[in-house]
Structure formats: C-alpha cells, structure tokens
C-alpha cells in the first residue's frame, strides 16, 4: 500500500470540496472493496475521503411512501432494521445474504452501488424496487444508474447520499451464492410495486438488468407458470470459470420462478 492522505469530513459538502480539490482522491465507505485494491497495489489514490464521520447519511427512515436508506448504512443495519423488515422484508433478506458477517458489518449500500460489481446484490435490490439514488448533485433513477461493468451514471465529484425505496406491495430475492466469495452467481429480485411488476437480475450479466419479458408476463398473470418458458438470452450473459452463460440463463428463470412461488 502506498501512503495517502486521510480525511474524515463532517458533512457531504466538505467531502465534495475535498473530492474536487484532489484529482486522485477516492471516497471511502466500508472500504471492503477499496482497501484490498490498495493493499494489492492495484490502486494508489493520493487521498482517502472517509465518509464514516458524516452523521446524516447513515440509517433508515420513512418518508411517506418511501424508505430512505443513508448511503453509509451497512448491510447488517439494513438486514436488522425494524422498518426495513416491516416494510420491505425482501430487501432486509437481500442485505442479510451479502458476503459474510464481517463484510456485512463494514460494507455499505452507497459503496456497493457506487462500485457496481456485476455480481453484487444491491444492484438487483435497487433496480428491482425501482429505487432512486440521491447524490449531492441530483436524483438518479436506478433504471438509469447501472450502465455497465463497474460503471455507473455517477460523475466525477458526485457522492451518493442515500437511496429512496418506494415501499412495494411485495418483493422477494433469490440468490445462488458463489461458494468462494458469497457474491451472486445469479440473483433475481421480483417485486410487485405500485407501478407494476419488476424483475431485476444481477450476477448474470455485465451489469444488473431487468427481465422485461418476465415482467410483462407476470403483469398479466402473477404465477410461476406465466414465466415457465421465458428465458433471458444467454448471448448477453457472463461466461466464466464459475458458470457458463447457458447455466446462468437457466438459473435466472429458476430463481425468478422460486421468487414468484414465494408470494
């Protein structure tokens, strides 16, 4: 690890100032992804701007028909939070399936989504619930947020402050865990929301995506049978040593069916 400057701003505005002032600075939330890359000397930022000391971007609250989760809320907090459990149990369950206990107690929703790992769970969680990212500059719908492999709509200097989840009628997450990392080989979130059925898939492709054919079928007939024959195109999916694209395509349907069956 190279030396770096370390900052703990007390507000998002201060963090943004620091970020603008240092071209090679990096934000840090839980550090679960960032710190290993530093240790392995794969990255050498000049400065780390730790968001841990900013009080108002942590925790969960209800705002009308939405749950607002602060960017610095850990996976463990989301998993255990009473409001989340009551209003979006599918999301609480998703958070509880991330990695291992150590990772869940450090990793944050903001860090996870900013990182946009193709196998991370929150991309399916946010996309599937039709959530909105709130940054220091604007609001970005989850549908517009995940652009590709480790690629998001965030601009330089932009900081995720929180994520707003419309409270769904019902949602459920199904995941096939990678035996080593715990990440999703495939993860599928199915939600019945006020604006319709949403099916979001992670792990399978270069970036989380919505299985629109399944959404349409489920909108007409919310049953396992309705999506029995619907598969996503394997050509667009990841093919690696852990799982072939054909397998992933198959698993998307299996998990979607299991999610629907859980209704």
């Amino acid at each position: 690890m190279e030396n770096f400057g370390y900052h703990t701003p007390a507000s998002v505005a201060d963090a943004a100032k620091l970020l603008d002032a240092n071209e090679d600075a990096k934000l840090m939330s839980g550090g679960m992804t960032l710190l290993p890359t530093l240790k392995q000397r794969l990255a050498a930022p000049s400065d780390l701007i730790d968001l841990a000391k900013i009080p108002d971007i942590k925790g969960v609250c209800r705002d009308g028909d939405e749950l607002v989760i602060g960017a610095m809320t850990t996976h463990a907090e989301v998993h255990e939070n009473a409001l989340v459990r009551e209003l979006i149990p599918g999301l609480a369950s998703l958070a509880g399936q991330i990695g291992d206990p150590a990772v869940r107690h450090r990793g944050t929703i903001g860090g996870s989504c900013a990182n946009a790992d193709p196998a991370a769970d929150y991309p399916a969680g946010t996309l599937g619930h039709g959530a909105t990212f709130v940054t220091n500059k604007r609001k970005i719908a989850a549908d517009d947020f995940f652009l590709g492999l480790f690629e998001t709509a965030l601009e330089p200097g932009e900081i995720i402050v929180g994520v707003r989840f419309p409270i769904p009628v019902w949602s459920h997450y199904q995941k096939l865990r990678h035996p080593a990392s715990g990440y999703a080989v495939v993860g599928v979130l199915v939600a019945q929301t006020k604006s319709g059925v949403r099916v979001a898939v992670t792990g399978a492709g270069p970036s989380a995506f919505r299985a629109t054919a399944m959404e349409e079928a489920l909108a007409k007939d919310f049953s396992v049978k309705a999506i029995e024959g619907i598969t996503v195109d394997a050509d667009d999916l990841n093919n690696d040593i852990h799982a072939s694209a054909a397998y992933r395509a198959h698993v998307v349907t299996v998990l979607a069916k299991r999610a629907v069956a859980a209704r």
């Binding site: 035996p179 080593a180 990392s181 990440y183 040593i241 799982a243 072939s244 054909a246 397998y247």
Partner: protein, 777 residues
Amino acid sequence: MGQFGIGQPVRRKEDVRLLTGKGQYTDDVNFDGQTWAAFVRSPQAHAKILSIDTSAAKAAPGVVGVFTGTDMKADGVGTLITDVEFKDLAGKDMFRPKRDFMTIDRVRFVGEIVAVVLANTQAQAKAAAELVMVDYDGLPAVGSTAFAASPDSPVIWEEHGSNVGIHWENRPEAEIDVHMAKAKTRVTVDIVNNRVVPNPMEPRCAVSKWENGELTMYAPTQGGRRIQQGIAKIVMNLPADKVRIISPDVGGGFGIRGKLYPELGVVAWAARKIDRPVKWRGDRSETFVSDYHGRDQINHAELGLDANGRVVALKVRTIVNCGAYFAENGPRLPINGGGRIIPGVYDIENFYFSVRPVLSNTVPTDTYRGAGRPEANFLMERLMDAAADATGLARDEIRRRNVIKPEQFPYRTQMGMLIDSGDFIGNMDMAMKAADWAGFDARRAESAKRGKLRGIGLSNFVEPSGGRPTEEMRIAVSPEGKATVYAGTHSHGQGHETVWAQLLESFLGIPFENVTLVQGDTKIMPKEAAGTFGSRSSWMGGVGLQRSAKRIVEKGTKIAANLMQSEPEKVSFDAGVFRAGTSSVTLAEVAKASYEPKNLPDGMEPGLDESYFLKRDPEEFNYPNGTHVIEVEVDPDLGKIEMLNYIAVDDCGKVLNPFIVHGQVYGGVAQGIGQAMTEMTVYDDEGQLVTGSFMDYGMPRAEHLSMIDALFNEVPCKTNDLGVKGAGEAGACGAPGAFVSAVCDALKGYGIRHIDMPMTPDRVWATIQKAKAGKAA
C-alpha cells in the same frame, strides 16, 4: 485410567493460549534492525529472461539490497531438493530438473521468484520490487495436465525433450493382461483428481539473523531438522549446528509446511549477505502462487471381475501434474505414496500400475493431507461403484465380496506391504447402520416429493501411515517431579501438548498439568528429530515416549532401590510410585534424589533424563482404515448439492484422545469435501492461475458441510506397542469417494455414473443436461 489418561477425551491444553491470542507465530518475531524482503515474482508462466535491471529498485527509498539468482549462485548456493529417484522397467532414470532458489534465465510458472528486494520497511520493499525491470521473452505455456502429457504440448525442459519425467511401471503390463483377459466383467473409469491449493491459515513467513557465524531463522515448519540440514548444506555451506531453525506456533501444516522452499533459502542467505536480519511475510496471494499445490492427477483404470463379482485384475494408468519442477516428494506421491495402495482394502492379486509424472507451467505439487493416498482410495472406490453398476450387485455387496477378510491378516499386498490388522466388513456394517442405510429409500421418496434428488454413498479406505522411519523423543524430569518432553515430533494443530501429557501421566504418573512440551527448535530438539507428517506422531512419537518413559522407570528403579535400601529386582513401579515391600517412594522423590550424587548407585549419571531413538523398518507402516457414508440432496434445477449427513467410521487403532481424533476427522473430511465440492484450481491457456484468491477459490465452509458423526472401530495395531494407527489423513481419504458416490446415486435416474470433482452447480447441471439430451436422442 484417570481423567487425563490414555483414551480420555481430554480438552486441548494449547487451546486457551491459541484462542486468546497468546500464541507466538513467526510473524510475532522481530529482530532489531531487521530489513524486509519482497520477492519479485514472474507474471508470466513461461518465458526466457533476457535481462534483469535492478538499478531503479536499488535507488528506491529505504532499499538495502536487490539480489538475483546470479548473486546466490556466485556465493555457491546449490539447487533445491528433489528427494525422489525412480527407474523405469528398462532401468532408465527419471529426469530430474534442477531448480535454483531464484530462477536465472527462465521462468516456468507464474509466481516463480526472479529477484528479492530488501528494504527498511515492508512497504518500501514492495514498492521497490515493482521497479525491478525484467525483460521476458514469452514462450508457449502449458497448465493442463492432459495437454502437458501429450506430444503436442510445449516442452518445459528442452534438454529432456518431453514433459514426461519417467514412464514408471510396477511390472510389465502383459503380466496382468493375461488375467484381465479372463475377466467376465470389465469396467473402466477415467477420472480427474483435481488440483487443490492447500492454504493453511498462517501464510508463510520467515525471519532470520546472522550473528557470530551462526544463522538463526524462525519459520513455520513441520519439524525444522530437515530444513536446518538443507539450509546449512545447500544455501549456507555451514555445518548444520551453525544453523538454528525455530518453528514457534504454526498455523497448519498439511504436508506442505514441511518443505525447504526457495523463500527460506533466500531469507537465510540474505541475512548473511547484508549482515542484517531479514524478515519476509508472505501474503495470501503469495500462498496461492508459491506454496506447493496438491493432487492433480488423471487416472485411467480398468477392473476385471469374475462371475462372482470377485476382482481378478486391476490396471491403472496415472498422469500426475508435478508442476514446473519436481518438488521434494512430487513424483513419489502417485508411486510410493498412493499408487501402491490403490487396491486399498480389497484383496487384489493382479495389479498393474503405471505413472507418468509430467512437468508443466504450474506451481509444483507435493504432499498435501494424504499425499497420494486420497487419490488412490478415490480411484479404487470409483472403480467399485462402476463394478457394482456393471454386475448389478449393490455397492456394499461388491465391496463385501472383495475386502480383505479378518482371517487374512497379516495380509501381504501384491506390492509387498504388510497390513497387520483391520475389520473392513465391520467398518461397513457400523457405518451403514449409523447412517440408516436400510431406511434410505423412504428418505429418498420424501426428498422426491420436494423436487430434490437424494443420494447416499460410501467409501472404504486404507492409508499406510508412519512417514520417515526414525524419530527421537526425550523426557526430562525435574527435581520437582515435573516433566519436560523434548519432542522430535512437531505439533502444528495436532494437539501434542495435550496428548504427550496424557501419555506421561499414564506411563509415569506425572500429573497432566506438570508436563511441558518443548518442540520446534533445532538447538534443543533431539538430534534425530524427524517431525510431524504422514500421520506418524502417535506411533513414532508416542512409542518413542513410551520407550523413554521405560528408561526413566528403569533408572528410577535403581535409584528407588537405593533410597529404600532394597534391590532393583524387588522394586515395582505403578502410577508414579516405586514400591519395595512396605516401603515406597514417589517418582518426584526419586527425581529429586537423582540430582544428588550421594543417592545414586556407583557410576550412575545424575538426573532423570532419558531419550529414545525409535527406528523401524522403512517398509513398515500402520494401516488406518475406515468407511465413510454421506447422504446428499441435489437440487436438479440448480445442480446444487447439499450435504445432509456424514458418518465417519475410522479404525485408527487405539485412540489416545477421542476428542482430538474427532478434530482430525472433521478437518480431514472438510478438506476432502472441499476438494469434491468447492475447491477448483484453474490455470488458463496462458498458464495464469485464474483462481488465485479466496474470492475465486472455494475453501470449504461450515455452510457447505453437514454435521459429521465420527465413530471408531478400534482394532489395535499389532506392529507397535501402543496399538495406534495414524489419524490425521483419514478424513481426506474417505470423503471424496463417498461424496461422489452419493451424488452419482442421487443422479442415477439420469444414467449419470460419474462427475469429476469439484462438483460445482454449473458442472452438475451441465452433466444433467447432457444426460437428458443423450436420453432424448
């Protein structure tokens, strides 16, 4: 026997220290003024080194020195050890390539050491290591075992002209073909025994200092004596007593911590070179590319059976991927380690086997928990399942018909090994009963209702244990009557602090808490110390202690006779007390007296301090064996396997401490299940290790395992006084065969007979799809 005697489930003495952070590992050791080493490792699998430019690294902040293999060679450093020699049937020697501590003009695997940087801090050393400019001229690489053995493969060692080190055979194949031809049923299997990365919890580490013409080095080892000798002779050109190796607490051995690795040689050599202490702490990424790997075989085997399902002939062809060099034991594993015991618990008279150790652009393979025996047992058990399938006999029935029967012991195998004892039918009966094999069909039907495919599998195994044929143990009793064991064995997880104390309480009546273990320091360990590996310590260390204790009693008897004014012949000893008629003295009193010459018979040395050098016939082993049964459920839609139940029946002879042996069984089983289910080592076509971290390489976790019920079928070993058989490697031998058998049983409806390990969901699902397509076609 009291609470702490032989056979009692005594809780481990060492655990409080280890679990409360009071253990002392090599990384806890620091020397004043030490420098830190960072290795420059090859990013390429196969390349010529055109030049190495160290100037920028040398000029970097804090750098004390940068050295290459050329520097070591100039100092007369030799090459690493390949402790294996074989000849083929025509008498031709095995090819033995030489490995420098740091490679000089060619790299042959990713991770091979090209240079070392020494700096004042670890961060400085690592940063400077990136500044060493190596000009590589890339060559085609080969990582795949099958491809390495084929004539089309790139050749790693041009001077040999082929990657195959030897085509070793136990006898001319034609001799067995005659018998095979008479078989009524013939079955063949082709199986891959997948490469695994051993991964002890403690990554490798070394810290050395050169002072007054002597080298002291701390490092995790499995006994230090051989490392000491290797470093002294090959690296330092010193007499062995000028090199001191100390292994404090060691976080796991598994066979691979017992080796003289190049890093150890470099750290030792560099301390003298720069005349400052040197420390190296390897990280997990280095573990993956520099610790020796395990397994990696391809087997083609054929079994011939008569009309009664009795085996008439067995033929096996093995290719083993030894990596870029033949490590200390590399090619020995499939030959002497495992190959010759392939017939396992079965009475098989006609056996042919051949081994081709191949070289490839991968990390060398060497001993790993079981060291050839898990591979051998796995192969035999797959053959037995295939034979059951072909003959229509039940899987246990085909085995019952072929196992060595009690009346055949001692049983001489066709490879000349003498199995002293065992109860192979009893193992199976016990395991099948505990697993409720008879009630399985009902459980299968219940699973089917939930859309799950349930399977049950069993595996027999036997694994010659004992390792090197010599060991030395010493017992010193203090004037207070407390004992110190100076062990030649080395505990790195096996619980010797506890078991050796139990033995001394049993042999000498010295209270358990008054026994201290000293081990792992070449300066104070017995001269003939060998160490711990190959499931040998209960036998070689335990019997060594028993004999040393006998000497303590013999000497004590003479002193006691003096003290009681009696004759030695009239003195008896029991539970720590010497008696003659109505008089008695305790061992503690005798010990105290032994340090005062006035109490001693004429000519007797003072003190109560005895050792024993135990030597056995190198071809003599003990034969732990057992039957393991696993029940699994397969989710056919995901190809995902869930382990439901595990019964391990082990005959490890007399059990010294069931609590500790259970621990050995659990750990071994976890490693066996890991190999069978999650541990996938992948080299790509460029020879890059794709699974080089815990994010990609699946170590077995609690969530992958079911509870394990470890039972004993104790048949005391007849060839040692304690009746013990090894216990450390059994789990790893039994688990893979039982696991694969169970999964294939679950999938038998698809006509699936075998799936190679690791049985990942992707692979299981693909196999099901293929089987379905084949059926439809």
